[in-house]
Symmetry: C2
Subunit: 342 residues, 2 copies
Amino acid sequence: MTPITIYDIAKEANVSVSTVSRVLNDTAPVRASTREKIMSIIAKHQFQPNAQARSLIKKETGTIAIILPDITNPFFPEVFWGAENEARGLGYTFFLCNTAGDYNRESEYLSMLREKRVDGIIFLGGRINMQTCPDDMAQELIDVGKRTPVVLVNGNIAKGGFHRVYTDEGAGAALAAEHLLELGHKDIAFVGGLKELSTTMVKVRAVQKKLREHGLEIPKDRLLLGSFSIDDGKREMAKLLESDNPPTAVICVNDNTAIGAMKTTIEHGLSIPRDISIVGFDDTPLASAVIPELTTVSQNTYQLGKLAVDKLHELINQRQVKKQTVLQPELIIRQSTGPAPR
Amino acid sequence: MTPITIYDIAKEANVSVSTVSRVLNDTAPVRASTREKIMSIIAKHQFQPNAQARSLIKKETGTIAIILPDITNPFFPEVFWGAENEARGLGYTFFLCNTAGDYNRESEYLSMLREKRVDGIIFLGGRINMQTCPDDMAQELIDVGKRTPVVLVNGNIAKGGFHRVYTDEGAGAALAAEHLLELGHKDIAFVGGLKELSTTMVKVRAVQKKLREHGLEIPKDRLLLGSFSIDDGKREMAKLLESDNPPTAVICVNDNTAIGAMKTTIEHGLSIPRDISIVGFDDTPLASAVIPELTTVSQNTYQLGKLAVDKLHELINQRQVKKQTVLQPELIIRQSTGPAPR
DNA sequence: GTGAAAGCGCTAACAG
DNA sequence: CTGTTAGCGCTTTCAC
């Protein structure tokens, strides 16, 4: 119960604190017998050195943080898992900061993390995904970046000069569009995603571009942005199906919305992919769990987290690192896409 | 870049460090003009006090940890979300420790967290879910508990005297069994879950008990334990369907396995619930996303996390708290269950 | 209202 | 090999 310190150990072993410190950190030779005596006393009291005190001197805390918008969206746990697994091996402990898409919360966390002197920060979603990030929010992150290593995942701050690892989401969306085009689809819709976020618009633009190459486009009434949830997928898809002008294929901003869209489609008595083809994004575990299995763009989510930590680690240790690491997505063709009807 | 301290601020403001400390913590009256001068200097340098140094004195870090087995299983992010949301309001930052079901990793984390002097620990899964937890593992956690407040969620250590919040999983399983019984099912199977874990066996026993009350039972060949993944659900269900003796209803250890089981069932050309009824556990977001929608037992997952933090907070502040908080589960009847065939 | 000084628990020279 | 002695950056008496 009583907080026991290195001094208590030293006294009981009849040595100085520095000797105890030496055995604790193996930082200088200590006579074997002394070492053993000290170790046994440490074990007896279950003594564990106070990391706070050590950090104060060493100017490192062995702690990194990940800021992300929604741990409840299966994409993020997967990233986290890749990051944490790697970080643990490197000796870090992870702060997880869930911002729920609230920019104030991001700011609060940024501030807390500075006070706690984390060794580095991995940032996903939120402001680094905004189409146009307000200057003050951008500046805030840039200021943090001056004092603490930061790695952005799947996002960016214009002119921020940040280190980043990201998936080429545009390329992924183009892959999806191409696949649909090859299947003969001409009436293609896009569903889901906040229109303020670049992760949405990058995909939309890439699809538009690909379609235009074929003399096609997504008309306004087939561009149904919303959010990233299953429910939103249901909602937008319902609008689409009840419109004058339903598509034969839809590209969804992520797997969640795709699954919602599938559900609504089937509930409307349509068959996937016979009547409508649907493609998702992220290849979360759900994609292969639903019926029909979802054709989707794989982001290699685990790697995203792992590589972010690797980069952060190099940064923390002041080593040279490439500013950017780009991951190429891959189209996973499953059962939810097929030839255009008729 | 240069680490700026309270001393730098004091010097620039021509005051002593104690005065700066006072305005930082609002811990004693400071003349308005002095305060303003100090504040402006703080703002100018974007100074943020070093939490490590403060913790050293105050003996609290404003940090709590959650240890859990698999952030990738949708149940846990939900718990985390409830916990984090509550904790943030109370001024804590969260360490997330993913153990991947590895008991060594639990031990490592337990040790790190002690060194980092977290204010409290929330523990899920792993050893607190073992049918019989080896003495050394139990003792390790008990020792941690002597120095750091610990709350166990949905698990226990026999004779550990821990504070706990948990769902009455047995009652939930009984609800599921009862529902199937009322629908006229007599051939009921149980799918998924590690047999070493109490979270599995509590459910199995509750179902057995309920069935016996009706002169029924789950025979050995309809008790297919495995793990908690979608894939395991598929695997076990396949065995069941290909056996001599397929059931008319199956209770799954969680939603993941239920979804896997549904998939396999449908792929075998059977109809749910006409040929087979399936019930899950946890009511994760998936449950209402699949077709047919899954009948499942809701655990009120968010509350589990929230209440754990509340209890931990009380403990940290040395207040009286009930040792146990039990949440009653609820059966959510959707589309995957129906009358027994014939 | 404000300052001086003594630590919090540990590491890191610097002497022996 | 081992002990002494400064701090790390902050809070907190205790005086004034």
